[in-house]
Amino acid sequence: MYVAVKGGERAIDNAHAWLAEERRGDASVPELSVAQIREQMTLAVNRVMAEGSLYDPDLAALAIKQARGDLIEAVFLIRAYRTTLPRFGASRPMDTGTMACDRRVSATFKDAPGGQVLGPTFDYTHRLLDFKLAADGEVPSAPEVADAEPSKDTPHIMEFLDREGLMQRDTDTSTPPRDLTREPLELPATRDLRLQALTRGDEGFVLGMAYSTQRGYARNHAFVAELRIGKVAVEMDIPELGFAIEIGEVELTECETVNQFTGSKSEPPQFTRGYGLVFGMSERKAISMALVDRALRWEELGEDNLGAPAQDAEFVLYHADNIQATGFLEHIKLPHYVDFQSELELIRKLRREATAAQDAPREAAE
């Protein structure tokens, strides 16, 4: 005799209680504060803001804490929160030329107006574990410029190439950009939608796609014309006032690449542009984004479709979102026994018939 299994409700409650305990870890170790995560795990916070599409370092830090450091889970928490927020307007297009740059490097010119500013980068650190950090994390403060001038606008390096007519111009269609989070993605996707999908796409996925173009799958010879990181003011038009006011500032990483373009029948050879813009200090993502953006532009630039994954907008856009991907991937651990049962019956039936068909001629021969 058999009594049917029940208890889904109690199992869920107990699992949640256990999860909460595991998240906290050993209670004799002091608990992490949200402020500690925000200040000391900044790059994780930045990634969660970028892929969560919500600029709020406090909430991102809270999400990381709640997610036990699983950044995709943290992105998910932010996305689920973000989607409930009312939309009361859109900002003016941000002018990254006014960025107060903490870092600004160009790989195409040794020097340019505004200079090369290395900023807080890992680039030239030796990746040696610093055991002093394990003992006590205090570091002497970094030297500062004695009387720093108020930061001036830093011109984009691209502008200098632009003036010479060497850059292919990105034309302003003057249509307001569409919103990927409020409309279903339909193909073919315009560049505004592609860039939105890339900036909130999974860093690992976008990196892999970009890397594949470097290794020859739709290679597009990218130079980093400029990579800049810093704070930019966000302005919004207030209808009641009749003018725009600054509502805050956000930290951004912007990458512009210069790519070769051999020209076509109607166009002499020119450089073309790949563009990456990501919340926070997220260099790897911004460069990757620029490379993939450029690869996806093959059609509008009249290039050949080489059949490379990074050229396939449908492939890239449908698979870049880690929240969609992880959800669908992980859902296969949910019960599927009804479907499996129907497969079981089918395979038993097919095997029965196949075995019978094999046996039949032998019997006839005997």
């Binding site: 208890g7 889904g8 949200v34 809270l62 998910f76 129907s342 497969e343």
Partner: protein, 306 residues
Amino acid sequence: MSPAMTPSEQYTNEDRGMNDYNFAYLDEQTKRMIRRAILKGLAIPGYQVPFASREMPMPYGWGTGGVQVSAAVLTPEDTFKVIDQGADDTTNAVSIRRFFQKTAGVAVTEATTEASVIQTRHRIPEAALRVDQVLVYQVPIPEPLRFLEPSEVETRKMHELEEYGLMHVKLYEDIAQHGAIATAYAYPVKVEGRYVMDPSPIPKFDNPKLEMAAIQLFGAGREQRIYALPPYTQVVSLDFEDYPFEASKADHPCGLCGAEDSYLDELIVDDAGGRLFMCSDTDYCAARQAAGHRGADAAPVLEGMA
């Protein structure tokens, strides 16, 4: 909330409860957008309507499409039932039911006949549904042609042109290779002689029930599609004259209630690999047992305990 507070302060200081969310979680604008998609779906049975799916507080793949459709159709007067694999007490069914108890405060039930809205994953209830009921399906991949053609651009074109030859070739190849159509669930159907539709991963046993009195709504959250079957819509499972469609189930009665007409789960009940077959529709099985039906493996009713 004081205007001086940042959103994060509001979040941490007030410990935002579910009561701060709108009825059934989604805001009214979003519901209106989803209702439009549903109405369009009902007007063009079997056609996949793109909709601006939202991130829900449960993962994609856990029924976010069904949850959004339920949220858009639920009213405070509704009685809600959720099943997964036919059962009300599977963990995800419990989780979704609780979500709407919390966010909509609707009455919930496990009885198919008492529910006005039923959300389901992978099954159609055994009891025939009525005109005053709505059945909401969770759909993973809404595109029946997806595994024959991975590109959405291509498959939408195929639907536009009613170009379903590829599907028939696939079914034919099954027969050529296996002697039978080797699709056991998510068996494709043709709706009102026009659109080929994925009925979601229900076992093909359930396909004949797709022609029913209730409204059927299909929600695919991650894939951003909604489609629908109005009451009494013609739904034909694809087949060939000489290889007709066959709704199949395990060739056993239910071990608990003795039903011969219900879809069965197969359980492994001992180390020797002993099997038990029982109704996947737990409400159907429980109702039959309450009415005194007994299967071969059911616990005996003790005297004076019934």
